[in-house]
Each structure stands twice: as C-alpha cells, then as structure tokens.
C-alpha cells in the first residue's frame, strides 16, 4: 500500500475507523480537536456509517463511551491533559466494569490549564492510576504517527482480550505533525454476543438464553469486591509478563543508555546518531508500552557490559524516571535531564548532558 502524507490527528481518527471503531464521543480541547473534527465528517460517510457525537463535557464523553462499550461495540474518546483529568472517574469505572474501549490522551503541558503545546506530564496519571482504586490499563506511548497507527491496530484486540480500556498517550507534537504513513485496510467490526456474553445486546426474560447483561462497577460486599480485584490483578500479572513492548536502539557497545518515550525519544535519537558519527556509542531503550513498563528490558540494557550510566530524558520533572530506577534497582547510575510543561529538551542540551556524563 502506498504511503500517504497525513496529519497525526487525522491519521489517528482514520486508523481507528479502519480498525472497526464506529463510535466516537468527545469534547473540543487543544491540541487534539482535529481528531473529533475528522470524525465529525468521516463517521457520516456511506462507507463508515458510524456515530460521532460532541458531548457536553469530557465527563459526559467518557460516560457515553462507557454506555456504547456496554453494548460491545468498538468505542473511543480523545482528549488532552486537563480533559483526561476530568475523565478519570470514568476510566476507573471502565476498568472496574471490565469494558474495552480506546482512550487517546494528546498530552499538553501542565499542571492546571497549563499550555497548549506538547507535554509529557501525564505519565504518572496514565500508569500509576489517575483515578481511584487498584486498576491499570495497557498504555502505549508512540513516538511517530506511524507507530501511533500501529498501536491503534493493537489497542482494540488487546482491550477486548483483557476487557479493559487501552490508553494511547501521544504528545501534542504527534497529533499536530504530518508524516508519511501507511494505513491498514478497512476492517468491519460486528459485535458477536457469543464472544462478548457480558455485553448488553438484548436478553429476553421470557425466553432466557444465558445470563442477562449486568454491567456494573458496584461491589458493595467486601467478598464480592475481592473477587473482582483478584480477577483484575490476575489479568494485570499476565499483562506485565507478556505485553511489554520497547525499542532498543544502537545498544551495541553502548557506554551510556538513554531512556525516553514519545517524541522526546526521537530527539534523543538524533543526538545518538550525531554522537555515533563522532565515535561515541550511546544506546537507547525506549518503552513503547509505559504500562506494562518493560522493567526487564530496561534493567538488561542498563546493566549490559560496557554501560557506565543511564540518562533518562523526559519533558516533565522525571516521571518515567521512577520506573527506570525501579527497573535498575541501584545496579547502575541513573541521571536525568528534562524540562517541565511544554519546554522541549533540545538536541544540543541532551548532547551536552551526555558529554558531561562521560567526563564524570
């Protein structure tokens, strides 16, 4: 299939549609508004025939997703940092009610209303539980438009396999930039009640077949809540074991290993390529899933023979840094470079930091 030059946000919406998503509920917020705008036209085309609805708030949008997902269809919402904060109760509830769906966070600078440029300050919120209670959800942090499309392709099947929302945390740059991309073919999706017996697809009390749908996140009895928690935690253990994804870059003979995610990893890659030309080997371990975090891969990269230090680079105050340190558990020196808000670390800054680490 020929590559096409597309803006990130439009590629995101188109990829979701081609993966069978016919239900989008959202609310305008910069820098992701082009996603709902694209859906608002495309969903009503003959070939797609889906539902785009602009909700009255981010809170309503996530709860509309909850309703649509209850019926088994592929549904999604997208927003940006402050809007994702508003969705947190809904996300916790989707996790507890075991409803598959896709949530996009096109991250901008925070805290508060913050900025409207790209940010990475929602790492903690995404992977450490932004909402209440013991839950997790598979969270991708792609670093290109193409990788974002690939993550969408995995998102719905994973969400359905594990009965949980999947989040894709892409920063504002990914939504706003144009890149050549290859999109998947159009795949229709029909709800199969046999595959999703939990979904509200209709149940006749007078001719009962199987059990009626009872979608809920309410478990008032401690013993019942324990059953849910055991089921969720059991699932999470399997996911931690089998689903981490990462990219290892230029790890051969690396003396320093950079850890970074999303767009910042691409900036770091430019530095690595520059230094390689100068005979300095710096490797990179880039988590593609930030939950489950690739702890083993990070530890192995950091303790590979010849590696003297790890540099974590982020566009925040050092959020993924905590997972990097947990992975390494004191077995290697870990340094950090980053800026908060929407202040992008530059090639020169990262380069200077790496060179100063070599002198130590």
């Amino acid at each position: 299939m020929a590559k096409k030059l597309m803006k990130g946000s439009e590629a995101i919406a188109e990829a979701a549609i081609r993966n069978g998503c016919r239900f989008f509920f959202g609310y305008p917020i910069t820098p992701q508004t082009e996603i709902p705008e694209y859906f608002s036209e495309r969903m009503f085309e003959e070939e797609v025939h889906g539902c785009f609805l602009q909700a009255e708030s981010e809170i309503a949008a996530i709860n509309m997703v909850y309703g649509a997902a209850s019926t088994g269809v592929r549904a999604m919402t997208s927003s940006s940092s402050p809007g994702i904060s508003l969705k947190q109760e809904g996300i916790s509830s989707l996790c507890a009610a075991e409803l598959p769906c896709l949530i996009f966070n096109i991250m901008r600078g925070g805290p508060g209303i913050g900025s409207i440029q790209a940010g990475q300050g929602d790492y903690f919120q995404a992977v450490k539980g932004g909402g209440h209670g013991d839950y997790n959800m598979i969270t991708f942090a792609p670093s290109s438009v193409q990788e974002t499309i690939n993550c969408i392709g995995q998102a719905f099947p994973l969400a359905e396999k594990y009965r949980m929302p999947v989040m894709i945390c892409a920063d504002g740059i990914i939504a706003q930039m144009m890149e050549p991309v290859e999109l998947p073919e159009m795949q229709p999706y029909e709800v199969d009640p046999a595959e999703k017996p939990w979904a509200a697809t209709g149940w006749d009390p007078k001719n009962p077949v199987g059990e009626r749908a009872n979608v809920t996140s309410l478990y008032v009895e401690t013993e019942q809540l324990d059953v849910l928690s055991a089921r969720l935690q059991g699932r999470y253990a399997i996911i931690r074991e089998t689903e981490p994804q990462w990219e290892a870059y230029n790890m051969e003979n690396a003396e320093i290993v950079v850890t970074a995610f999303g767009t910042i990893a691409r900036i770091a890659k430019s530095v690595i390529d520059e230094l390689k030309d100068e005979g300095i080997n710096v490797g990179m371990l880039r988590p593609i899933t930030i939950w489950p975090f690739p702890y083993d891969a990070v530890r192995e990269a950091a303790t590979q023979p010849g590696v003297k230090a790890v540099l974590d680079v982020e566009m925040n105050a050092g959020q993924m840094l905590e997972d990097v340190k947990l992975a390494i558990n004191g077995a290697q020196n870990v340094d950090f470079f980053g800026h908060c808000g929407s202040h992008l670390p530059t090639v020169d800054e990262i380069r200077e930091k790496i060179l100063s680490m070599r002198e130590e």
């Binding site: 609805l53 009255e56 709860n63 309703g67 209850s70 019926t71 209709g202 009390p205 009626r212 996140s217």
Partner: protein, 247 residues
Amino acid sequence: MAIEYKQTQLLTDVPRHYCPGCGHGIIHRLVAEAIDELDAGAKAVGVSPVGCSVFANNYFNFDMVNALHGRAPAVGTGIKRARPDALVFTYQGDGDLASIGAAEVVHAAMRGEKITTIFVNNAIYGMTGGQMAPTTLVGQKTATSPNGRDADWCGSPIRICEMLSTLEGAYYIARVALDTPAHINQAKKTIKQAFKYQLEGKGYCLIEVLSTCPTNWGMSPVEAMDWLSENMIAYYPLGVFKDKGAM
C-alpha cells in the same frame, strides 16, 4: 383458586433492600409492568444511578448497566446510539439527576436523545443518609439543613419538568405521584406512554415521580404519603408539561 395478580417476569425474585414505605419498589413495578405490557423486555436496557436505586441492576430482569453518579443520561446516550432499536431508560434519583447530573440530563434532553428518564423525586438524598437535595423543600429539615432549608442561603428547590419543558428536544415531560392509588395508576399510564413514544422513535421523555423517603424524613410510611400529598404536590404540581405527540 384463580390467580389475581402475578409479578411480571421483568422483575427478579431477589429480596429488595428498600426501607418500608419507600417508593422505589412501586416505581420498579410500574416500570417493569409498562415495559412488559409493551412486550419490550427483550430489547430493554435500564441504566441505574448512584443512590438508593444503585441496586436496580439486581431487581430488573433484563439487560442493566450501572452508571456513575449523575452520568446515567450520558451512559444511556452511548447505549442508544450503539443500539438504536433498544428501549433505553435511565432511572435516577433527585440528587443524581438534579444536582451532580444536571448537565447530563439537560443535554440529553437538548439533543432529543431517544431515551426515557424515570426521575424519582423524594426531596432528599436517601442512600447517604438524608442530606439536603436540590429538590428539598424550603423549611424541610435534613441532615445538612438541620434548621430547615433556608432559601436565602441555598436557594429554592429546582423544578426539573418545568425547566426541561423549555427545550425543543424534550418530547414528553410529565410529573406523577405515588400518594394515592389513583395517582399510582396515572403514573403507570404516563410511564407507559413515555416508553411507547420511545418505541415509535420519538425524542427525549422524562417522567418525574414524586416519591417518599420515610426513613430520612423521620416519618411512618403513612405519614410520609400524607406529607407528599400536602407539601410536595403544592410545590411540584402534577401533570403533563409537554407532549409533542398531542400537539
């Protein structure tokens, strides 16, 4: 002996947790019977709220989805958009609908969402133990208005039917009560009409049911019914506020 009355199959047999004299049991029955009479049990999806009727999932015998506090109209919207042929209703109390969920109900009505809302108004927060609701009457004593609701301090109660009737998307808006057998029969007819409209593909319908909460009102069930008749109906007049089908 002939069977005079049989519970509809659209209600489960599990024991209900509602207090003696609470209106929820009656309203559950009216809703289930109305759907049964329309032969729509197989396509019904109920959305339960947060509040005393959070357990409605256990009592209605068809597909049920529980929503977060106040969000039932948004959840119902998602269900109905995904399954336009389903009979979707939200069942919400006054704290859920008129306070935390005010935005969701207004916008569902504005959009003319083809769902039905059963709005149970008992002028108090039941589940959390009797706090003041937006519907609490002026002077009414609650756990958070121990000296009676003061209109100067926290305003006068909200009349949902009157407010929603101004919206173009609202198709059928009516208020009924549970205080007499005649009113209960009227309530059933009104609820059934709302479901009928939905099955015909009409717009948003809301039936407000004035109900009792003897436990949190500090009354016997009989006193509570009398209090409803004497005080609530005076402030919340019964009737049909909007019926686009009759226009």
